[in-house]
């Protein structure tokens, strides 16, 4: 595996590595070649690169046509231009016919969109896609995990969505750590005072919160959830069963993402309290770190919210 830094670079590298052996894999670009860091891919595999211009609905439709003819197209661009502008195409012409189209959305969340501001910062995608049957939703925590998630997407039959950022993510996983098919990876096991579940690029912050809590005498378990609304939540349920308080942390709107998923699992299996740390407003422009801190994702804020739940 070549060296890369960031989730977009991870996507491009995974695509390059797969295209070496799989001529069915294509990249469909709605003028997102540069944004997706896929310029080298287009140079090395010009036949496997389809440029449709700034036309996301067309990119998804064309991908549906390619998939219907037996190919495996990846469509990549900004999260909202896929899941909102081309929402209906993703639903009616990919999810409904269960076609083998893969989506990689970049600039997810405040951390992904950061300085661009609200027009290029998206925190609604998981809520939208979680209502579409047949979609597999992958939320890798960092660059290395995005690399493996993109590779996993190619081998999972049917529509798959990979949530990616813009390079501001802090790498937590080792380069060669596989993408867990169980939907959960336990990172810290300090105790069962609470279970902190993180999804996406806030894993480093959640881990830091666990250290703050530990210093305060509160011992929590921290796990990364990398598949939302998956078909095999057993290992997630097993971790949830060990605690009476769960806290979810996600750079997404409070509805429709990780918090909703875990609340559902709790309600349907073993009811317990779930505190959701997520966005309830639109964001704004700003440096990634400052934005995340300002909107409630600082390690201190995550630790305080958790401690308050336990009072």
């Amino acid at each position: 595996m070549a060296d890369f830094k960031g989730t977009r670079e991870a996507f491009a590298q995974a695509l390059l590595d797969m295209a070496e052996d799989h001529d069915k894999i294509l990249f469909v670009s709605p003028d997102s070649l540069k944004a997706m860091r896929a310029t080298k891919f287009a140079e090395l595999h010009p036949d496997q690169y389809v440029e449709v211009g700034i036309a996301e609905q067309c990119a998804v439709d064309a991908a549906a046509g390619l998939a219907a003819a037996g190919l495996i197209p990846f469509v990549g661009t900004y999260v909202g231009f896929l899941t909102m502008r081309a929402c209906e195409q993703m639903r009616t012409f990919v999810a409904y016919p269960n076609l083998n189209v893969k989506f990689v959305g970049i600039n997810a969340g405040l951390l992904g969109g950061e300085r661009e501001g609200v027009t290029h910062q998206f925190y609604e995608d998981l809520g939208i896609l979680s209502t579409m049957p047949n979609f597999t939703i992958l939320t890798p925590a960092d660059g290395p995990q995005t690399y493996h998630a993109v590779k996993a997407a190619a081998s999972i039959p049917g529509p798959v969505y990979v949530r990616a950022g813009s390079g501001r993510e802090i790498d937590v996983y080792a380069k060669d750590a596989p993408f867990s098919p169980d939907g959960i990876t336990v990172w810290k096991n300090y105790g069962t005072d609470a279970l902190l579940l993180s999804s996406g690029f806030v894993l480093d912050r959640t881990l830091a919160a666990a250290e703050i809590l530990k210093a305060q005498g509160i011992h929590v378990t921290v796990a990364d959830i990398n598949i939302l609304y998956g078909r095999n939540p057993e290992k997630i349920l097993a971790e949830m069963a060990r605690v009476s308080q769960i806290v979810t942390v996600e750079d997404h709107n409070i509805n429709g993402g990780l918090g909703s998923y875990i609340s559902r699992l709790a309600c349907e299996n073993e009811p317990k309290r779930v505190k959701r740390i997520a966005l309830t407003t639109f964001g704004e422009s700003g440096p990634a770190k400052e934005l995340a801190d300002h909107y409630g994702f600082s390690p201190e804020a995550i630790a305080k919210t958790t401690a308050d739940c336990l009072k």
Binding site: G53, Q57, D61, A62, A64, A69, T92, F93, P97
Partner: protein, 274 residues
């Protein structure tokens, strides 16, 4: 089939479609009858297909972008043998039926693409045509769009893509019957100059009588010969064509014939044989 036989077949498909709507008590007969001659020519004369192998990789593809006209599509698939025995009662739009209100590829054999949400057929067809080029297959992709449907912006994204990619294996029929759900196309948006618009986008364009079988055949031949350009065949059609009470009356965009009207259909389209 010769021209006369195709013409007869088109009327037979028209009757099957009207019968389907009459029995199912719901559907869009006017839009279906408008394209009957095109569909009959495609399925009985022009398309490289094998009903016993609906997933054959080298087959020609068909997308009914104006999916609400599906009764004529279902009629053609049934008569052509995609479902084994010819279907006598389609249970159109009924719970559990494989004949949905709009075409669904995973429910109905022979349907190459789910459709019905207007505007998407050309862009999807462009994707299929691209796949053909990429895989060095010599199949063609045929798409039927409505003239009203061309108001959807996504159409023009697909039209742009097909021209830019020089998809000469993509042939679009624009069913120009001058009506859409709410009224006449020209009244709705001021004009219906389809040919000029496609021309401006770099397509090979032709305009024909959409009920003239020989003209349809000749236009497909010319479209196939056009190198490096996708083709549009603007078909001047009559909505509800073939049924006296339905022709050019937009009330039949969606509607169910009465028992009396059904008898007229039997007389006019099926030679009096139910």
């Amino acid at each position: 089939m010769n021209t006369a036989e195709l013409k007869q077949m088109a009327d037979h498909l028209r009757f099957v479609a009207v019968d389907m709507v009459y029995r199912g008590k719901d559907g869009h007969p006017g839009p279906a009858l408008s394209i009957a001659d095109i569909v009959a020519t495609l399925y009985y004369d022009q398309m490289r297909i094998d009903p016993s192998r609906p997933d054959w990789e080298d087959r020609d593809r068909f997308i009914l972008s104006k999916g609400h006209a599906c009764p004529i599509y279902y009629a053609a698939l049934s008569e052509r043998g995609y479902f084994g025995e010819k279907v006598t009662d389609f249970h159109l739009r009924a719970l559990g039926s494989k004949f949905q209100g709009h075409p669904v590829m995973n429910k109905t054999k022979g349907v190459d693409m789910t459709s019905g949400s207007l505007g998407n057929g050309i862009a999807i067809g462009a994707g299929m045509a691209l796949a053909g080029k990429y895989r060095h297959k010599d199949y063609h992709v045929f798409v039927i769009v409505g003239d009203g449907e061309l108001q959807e912006g996504i159409c023009w994204e697909g039209i742009n893509l097909a021209a830019g990619q020089r998809l000469d294996n993509l042939i679009v029929f624009a069913d120009k019957n001058n009506w859409q759900s709410g009224g006449s196309v020209a009244d709705t948006i001021g004009s219906n100059n389809i040919k000029e618009r496609f021309e401006a986008f770099g397509w090979h364009t032709q305009e024909i009588d959409g009920h003239d079988i020989d003209a349809i055949r000749a236009a497909i031949k010319a479209a196939k010969e056009a190198q490096g350009q996708p083709s549009v065949i603007v078909c001047n059609c009559v909505k509800g064509k073939g049924l006296s009470f339905m022709e050019n009356d937009n009330v039949w965009h969606k509607g169910v014939p009465t028992d009396e009207q059904y008898k007229i259909a039997v007389k006019e389209l099926a030679g009096g044989i139910e």
